[in-house]
Symmetry: C2
Subunit: 338 residues, 2 copies
Amino acid sequence: MTQPVRTAPTLAEVAAAAGVSRSTASRALNDSPRISEETKKRVRAAAKEVNFVPNARGRALAVGRTEIIAVLVTEPLSELFSDPTYSEFLSGITEELSESSYLPVILQASSTHERNRAREHFERRSFDAVIDVSPYKGSELLEVLRELGVPTVLCGQLEGHPYRDVFSTVYSDDEEGGHFAALAMKDRGRKDIVAVLGPQDNPAVVDRLRGYRAVLGEDLPDANVIYTGWNSGDGYQAMHQILAREIAFDGVLCGSDRIAAGVITALNEAGLSVPADVSVVGFDDHEIAARCVPALTTVRQPLREEGHMAANIALDMIKGAEPTTSVMHMQLIQRDSL
Amino acid sequence: MTQPVRTAPTLAEVAAAAGVSRSTASRALNDSPRISEETKKRVRAAAKEVNFVPNARGRALAVGRTEIIAVLVTEPLSELFSDPTYSEFLSGITEELSESSYLPVILQASSTHERNRAREHFERRSFDAVIDVSPYKGSELLEVLRELGVPTVLCGQLEGHPYRDVFSTVYSDDEEGGHFAALAMKDRGRKDIVAVLGPQDNPAVVDRLRGYRAVLGEDLPDANVIYTGWNSGDGYQAMHQILAREIAFDGVLCGSDRIAAGVITALNEAGLSVPADVSVVGFDDHEIAARCVPALTTVRQPLREEGHMAANIALDMIKGAEPTTSVMHMQLIQRDSL
DNA sequence: GTTAACGGTGCAACCGGTTGTACAACCGCG
DNA sequence: CGCGGTTGTACAACCGGTTGCACCGTTAAC
């Protein structure tokens, strides 16, 4: 009596209560056209009566789907949580899936142990699809997914698109973003530009730089490009390096808003005014951007929409759709730092 | 040929390859004592040969377990991600589960829509257990879980323990934490104490205050207790209010390290030195604590360990263990602010 | 030499749904 | 009246594992 372990009603009980067979009950609840309205009504009433909810395990086995989508992340959880970029993107995925009956599972893959577990789950067919948040070329897990034929969506461009015919891809047009930022500098009349970017081996960084270059040409000399980490501390240090060189510059293009925040701090400390003396443009439209002083002009990456898109593509692929590639567009957010 | 949709090998194929029946193959792979070593070896070889991995759906139905544990969070994802307290706790859960074959699913329950979905999943028996990260009294979801008899672990003390006989509980001893912080003040000879706490309706806040009071008595008068939010901005503002009152005080007990960070900033701005003029003690041993100037003395809440514990209890309950309550102990981290 | 005990294996049922197909009842038609 | 065509339902197989129980051959005990 202390444990009300009411064992869940099964389809058989519903069928019995409605006076029909299991198959008829199933079809009635799934609204099959082959069942008469009359019978459907009776079955539905019976189902409500006994409080029937179809069991996930039985259904999964019968229909061959678990209704679970794995979100594969390479970063350790702590980093995942500290980087609002991910938060935004994951929210997008979650939001979209919450409209369906699918459930997202965050699957880490930073350690070897985690990757082995992930692989195991893939082989068990625990998931109907996988969304890889930070795919990298040569990942053994992607190889496994390809072999198993699991519908997969890659978020981010893979150099050389090695899996384009098998996997779907969603990414923001980083080169276009670079364009926008650089054009803003040019329109403002800035001629001597410095760039403080993220890690050199990051594909997004490469594309953004290409965008900058296409617009600015020699106004952004090689010597003025600095690669560093994504944080404000990195931006701060990088700016100090540049100031130490005592070169002339009137604009700084930053690889992230956090970098930009550090850059602005360093500039202010050096007695330079933003935007009077130097223009600064960020990247991401991170929460921090609007709170900078001056408020940061930046390039907005539609992360939430990217999440929506990734989830939708995954759902489509589960239904049998062919792999697709879709590109999200960047947008310049004008504020006061330019 | 473009799609290598190699349909996964089933147990039947393994059995055929090994020349035994399905049941024998199953038992051999599950290392049943009823099967001879000889046969086991043969079956394992066959399984390896055809690359057999047991299908999650089939197994789930047969054993009556999905091997999925839901982590129920009331906060929206953005807040979840911005609050490192959760990050730490979730990491603990994830870490522990990664040692088992169980998979955690983060299930949001902030909107009505989300709660309905959660309920639906519970009724479908999608999860073997639920860990409620921020349970509150009168939650309709807890009612559902109780009725369904789903093993549930509550993280945090529920006033009046309405479900103590059905659900397990894990929580940190906040009163003890208050004790530690207050004792440190007392030992340092501080006599006029101010407390800047989190929201008044938060049970942890109530318990911590009780701990402070038990030690300090009249050294912490009612008028000196301020309730506010958890952030540094809140601490900063609260401190300004107190300074405006022009009362004498030589110690500040803070409800979180972020509050403490704001408090220290405000004190410095007012020309007061920490710890020479005023001692400050935080709460949580948040990442920020060690980086404060001066480094913050604080009460460490064993969040990661709490996550481990919650996950372990959930696993035990799945195996049939009775509900338990376990209390995690706080610890004073001595740094320079006292 | 018969029989009981025992270790090893297979048959078949089961978990809880879905779905292909057979069949019965009914319709209108020639 | 017999026929083909529809409609509504039930039977049984299936998804891919696990498990209770019966059965077999062997060995040891009497």
